[in-house]
């Protein structure tokens, strides 16, 4: 089983915080077949990603199976300052979840 990791890069550009994040997740669609057994691989994908800054949800993403494996997500928001913490968490269709935080530089 892959390690549950979230990598975050958060940078201030002027008064805008730019967040880039990479999550490790198989994002299995449920359409693919195991070539050896011919059985369908069950879907396994991130359903929701929540990005928080000082307790405010700056972005809530709802995802389907069409988001690529090891998802990349980038967004921008105002009202942050250097040194602020940004928290990103996800949960998937199997009830697994992960959380990570990073300081904005």
């Amino acid at each position: 089983m892959a390690k549950k990791k979230i990598r975050i890069r958060a940078k201030m550009k002027g008064d805008i915080a730019e967040i880039k994040t990479l999550m490790s997740h198989p994002m299995e669609t449920g359409f693919r077949k195991n070539k050896k057994t011919g059985k369908k691989i069950p879907p396994h994908f991130i359903k929701e990603v929540i990005c928080e800054h000082k307790g405010n949800k700056v972005l809530v993403a709802s995802w389907g199976v069409a988001v690529s494996k090891n998802p990349y997500l980038s967004f921008k928001f105002k009202g942050a300052a250097k040194g602020d913490t940004i928290t990103i968490s996800w949960n998937d269709n199997k009830g697994e979840s992960a959380t990570a935080d990073a300081k904005i530089s």
Binding site: M1, I16, T29, F31, R32, K33, K35, K47, E48, N56, K57, V58, L59, V60, A61, S62, W63, G64, V65, A66, V67, S68, K69, P71, Y72, L73, S74, F75, K76, F77, K78, G79, N91, K94, G95, E96, S97
Partner: protein, 153 residues
């Protein structure tokens, strides 16, 4: 070899235990918030209706879709949606995918109309971005050619 299998087994069951308890602890609200019917919809209209409660889309020149003209690998198509409008949400739909709704982003008040991610595309298709702003829906389209599909095995 046997020892290795045994170790793998224990690790997996341990992980499953954690997953199960996490599942129990996850509040129902979070699960309900995920728009299941919208993701299950088989065409764009149904998906947009289920997700945003309306299909009245007006085309807007203020939505920019940055995506490759030709995607060599449909499994990873980088897309960036940006708009100058005060967007409440940005949704991405892919017309010819088995379920068109790929992802939807609810934006906070201080979040700019900008998201960038990577999606899978089964075949050459229109990419539709829907932006909700001031209670109205705006959309923009872009065709992406796919040479290798992202949904096959």
């Amino acid at each position: 070899m046997k020892r290795r299998t045994f170790l793998k087994g224990t690790v997996t069951s341990g992980m499953l235990g954690v997953a199960a308890s996490a599942g129990l602890l996850t509040p129902r609200m979070v699960l309900a918030a995920w728009p299941e019917t919208a993701f299950a919809a088989k065409n764009i209209d149904d998906a947009v209706d289920a997700l945003l409660g309306s299909t009245a889309l007006s085309a807007s020149g203020d939505i920019k879709i940055k995506a490759p003209e030709i995607a060599e690998n449909g499994a990873v198509v980088p897309i960036t949606i940006s708009t100058g409008m005060a967007a409440e949400s940005i949704s991405v739909l892919i017309a010819k995918n088995p379920s068109p709704l790929a992802c939807s982003f609810a934006l906070g008040g201080s979040t700019l109309g900008f998201v960038s991610t990577r999606v899978k595309m089964g075949e050459t298709s229109d990419l539709v971005a829907v932006v909700k702003s001031g209670g109205k829906l705006y959309s923009a389209k872009k065709t992406v050619k796919v040479t290798i599909g992202g949904c096959g095995g």
